[in-house]
Amino acid sequence: MSDLPLQNIRIIDHTIAWAGPQGTHLLADMGAEVIKVEACNRPDIMRGGGRRAKKADKFWERGAWFIQLNRNKLGITVDLGKQEGKELYLKLVAVSDVVWDNFTPRVMPNLGLDYEELRKVKPDIIVLHQPGYGTSGPYRDAPAFGDCINAFSGLDDITGYPGGRPLRPGIAYGDPTSGFAAALAILAALHYRSLTGKGQLIDVSHFEISSKAMDGLIEYAMNGRVQERMGNRDATMAPQGCYPCRGDDKWVVITIADDREWKKFGRVLGNPEWTQDPRFATVEGRRQHHDELDRLIASYTSSHDRYEMMSLLQKAGIAAAPVLYPGELLTDTHFVQRGFFEESTHPYAGTQLLPGMLYKMSHTPCRIRFPAPLFGEHNRYVYNEILDLSEDDIEQLTRAEIIGDKPRFAGLE
């Protein structure tokens, strides 16, 4: 049984919804002991995520997306609004490496749990805040959700058909992007601490890390040009597009990278006359007549299966792929053979396939070891075993409603 790369790290995880849990689960996947902290009056809002009506028994244990985002983590509850809860929590901080949240910036200071306070119980603690806009600046206290970051970071503006309006990019990219960035920051800080003994405070803004991916900023800074919506077209290669295939809502994307590939493309199609048209022989010509080319290509692809198109064209060294819905990835032969999706069984939600490891490591392979925690599931493990509290202590804390295993939702008493 091989090691896990981060097996000696303990992380206190206050994160909720998507952005934070996406990051903490990466570290949990790599073997860190990630302790998800909730409170009876403040369960993770994602616990209702998914489609379970409240009439279902313990709907908060059935949200499929929550289950995917919180696998490999332990779960505890503690009421940080009460003095006794805070004292209990600080005992855990004293034996942990990292404290991580994605609340709006005033929350942790309001609880009296900012970096300066936490350092008092653990001088080398690493504290990370992951709010939408960071912990400073004029937008600091604006309510931030993922679609807001899509808009501010420019992603909405550059996504759309040529001459069309900005379109929603499918998901809120700032969430997972900031989660990945936060994970990177934590590991850099842990490495630094292993060399120097020093912890530190880290501020991860979804807005900033999303903006790093906007290479259109360089064009603007250099030439003053504002990036426009291009649909499926490419700035240099032509044709590139998304073409209908046989069946309803079935498509293939094709990129012809240069003149040599254009000739090969013609051969794959059986050299129909239009592929020999001299207007299309150069990339300038193909770009000029892109609309017409798109129609001609579509007339060919629409009678073919999308996977067949990929196979035919890739054999000839041309980049082509079917447009798959996320659910279709589950049965795509490449994903299956790579073993990317992993089966995981959850006590309430049953057995599902979850996106597995984001990358493969040769000597410390990782996997989904256990499912997302039930609410307060590991109270005993953390309070008895890590903090050495007695059974009486646990009972007293439960009676005082400092800890518990049932969330209190408004309108559900």
Binding site: A17, R47, G48, A53, K55, W65, S136, G137, Y139, P143, F145, D147, A151, F152, D157, T159, Y161, P166, R168, I171, Y173, F180, A181, A183, L184, L187, A188, A189, L190, Q200, L201, E208, I209, S211, A213, G216, L217, I218, N223, V226, Q227, R229, N232, T236, C242, P244, V252, V253, A257, Q314, A321, P326, G327, H334, F335, Q337, R338, P355, L358, H363
Partner: protein, 427 residues
């Protein structure tokens, strides 16, 4: 401790000050990964093909649209604070020099197609004989194995196969890719994190390893929610233009109000007086506040816009909202909505993003000088660290700029050997 010097000659500081990285990457994913490590303080030596260098040098933007291998904006952005040497890895002499470099390095980043490194005789198994503690991070489109391993792929190809493209577009048209090169950047960021997870393990054990990243799997990870939803509901999310995907009927309307339950009635990009804004109500109290904000409190009780049925009346709601939004500017709306605690945002174009007040207040953009490009502002820190501030000081290196420094001073070649290598096209 022997702390390496940065590309500008100063002592390196930063969280990764002791790490030595070889950047064999090209275009975006590999170089972006290495640039994140450089900004965190690692010493990064870029190994480029003699004559042409990293392919990004041939891609713009260029000042005045005139191509020049020292003036690519993309290359400059992604390769700051790195050194550059040239090595022809197809030659024996080039391979020898590379192996010497690997012997002293901590990390090697590459994003070639999987057959390339083995075909050069530089596969991980070979390199670890030279350096057993080496961490080699390989980023590829489809991974180091599997039926699509050797397939060709660009951003659009990965977007299609990774489940990203299917959910973007107008309902009656072909699906489109995300603007720009989002998946390439995601890959670089993921690779930096992946590399660091191996560094942290090696800090304790001295064990090196090979890391295999597939961009298409990174894309699939981003689409975790619809993948789970498909298993719950056996239904795909429908493309819905500028509005959040269309809901199936009636699934979540009786959940408690503080529980997250997209798609709510109002997550949409709409035009206003001087551009577009995004209205992003994801919890019921936010929707109710929006109704009050636009002076239409009766909408709160309007059965058309309940959580269960709103998608059937989306056009009507759009029209009501646009009526209000068109009277105000992007900035006015953002401020007003913030005061009402309604999540909203300005749809920034690249010019607005460049001047964005939040970015400028936080010093997100950094001015960097380059001998061929002069002074320009670039996106800077990916996050802020209190003890180990982000390093972004020197412009990208000229092609082979550090051949002498690395090959002679570091690796011990003589001037004559270097001259011979140049003559033979090795450097």
């Amino acid at each position: 401790m022997n702390i390496p010097k940065g590309s500008n000659g100063d002592m390196k500081s930063g969280a990764l000050f002791d790490l030595k990285v070889i950047d064999l990457g090209h275009f975006i994913a590999g170089p972006y990964c290495a640039s994140l490590l450089a900004g965190l303080g690692a010493e990064v030596i870029k190994v480029e093909q003699p004559g042409t260098g990293d392919g990004a040098r041939s891609m713009g933007p260029f000042p005045g649209d005139e191509p020049h291998i020292e003036k690519s904006g993309l290359f400059n952005y992604l390769n700051q604070d790195k050194k550059s040497i040239t090595l022809n890895l197809k030659s024996e002499a080039g391979k020898n020099a590379f192996r010497k470099l690997v012997a002293e390095a901590d990390v090697l980043i590459e994003n070639f197609e999987p057959r390339v490194m083995p075909s050069l005789g530089l596969a991980y198994e070979t390199l670890r004989e030279v350096n057993p503690s080496l961490l080699m991070t390989s980023i590829s489109n489809f991974g180091q194995n599997g039926p699509y391993r050797d397939y060709k792929g660009y951003e659009i190809t990965l977007s299609a196969l990774g489940g990203v493209q299917a959910e973007i577009g107008e309902p009656d048209r072909e699906p489109i890719k995300l603007g720009g090169q989002q998946l390439q950047f995601q890959a670089g960021l993921t690779a930096a994190f992946a590399t660091m997870s191996a560094v942290c393990y090696r800090d304790v054990t001295d064990i090196g390893q090979h890391i295999d990243l597939a961009i298409v799997e990174i894309a699939a990870t981003l689409k975790g929610a619809p993948i789970m939803m498909y298993q719950e509901m056996e239904h795909h999310r429908v493309r819905n233009g500028a509005r959040i995907w269309q809901a199936q009927r009636g699934a979540t309307d009786d959940l408690p109000p503080q529980v997250y339950r997209i798609p709510g009635p109002c997550i949409v990009i709409l035009p206003c007086k001087d551009g577009y804004v995004c209205v992003d109500t994801e919890l019921p109290p936010q929707w109710l506040a929006l109704c009050d904000m636009i002076g239409r409190p009766e909408l709160k009780e309007d059965s058309r816009f309940s959580w269960a049925t709103h998608h059937e009346h989306a056009d009507e709601l759009d029209a009501i909202l646009i009526d209000y939004l068109k009277t105000k500017t992007q900035q006015e709306l953002f401020e007003e909505a913030s005061a009402w605690r309604v999540p909203s945002a300005v749809v920034n174009n690249m010019a607005q993003l460049f001047h964005d007040p939040q970015h400028r207040a936080r010093g997100f953009f950094v001015q960097v000088e380059h001998p061929a490009l002069g002074k320009m502002d670039y996106p800077g820190h990916p996050f802020i660290m209190s003890e180990t501030p982000w390093q972004q000081v020197s412009g990208a290196p000229l092609l082979g700029e550090h051949n002498k420094e690395v090959l002679i001073e570091r690796l011990g070649y003589s001037e004559q050997e270097l001259a011979a290598m140049a003559k033979d096209g090795v450097i």
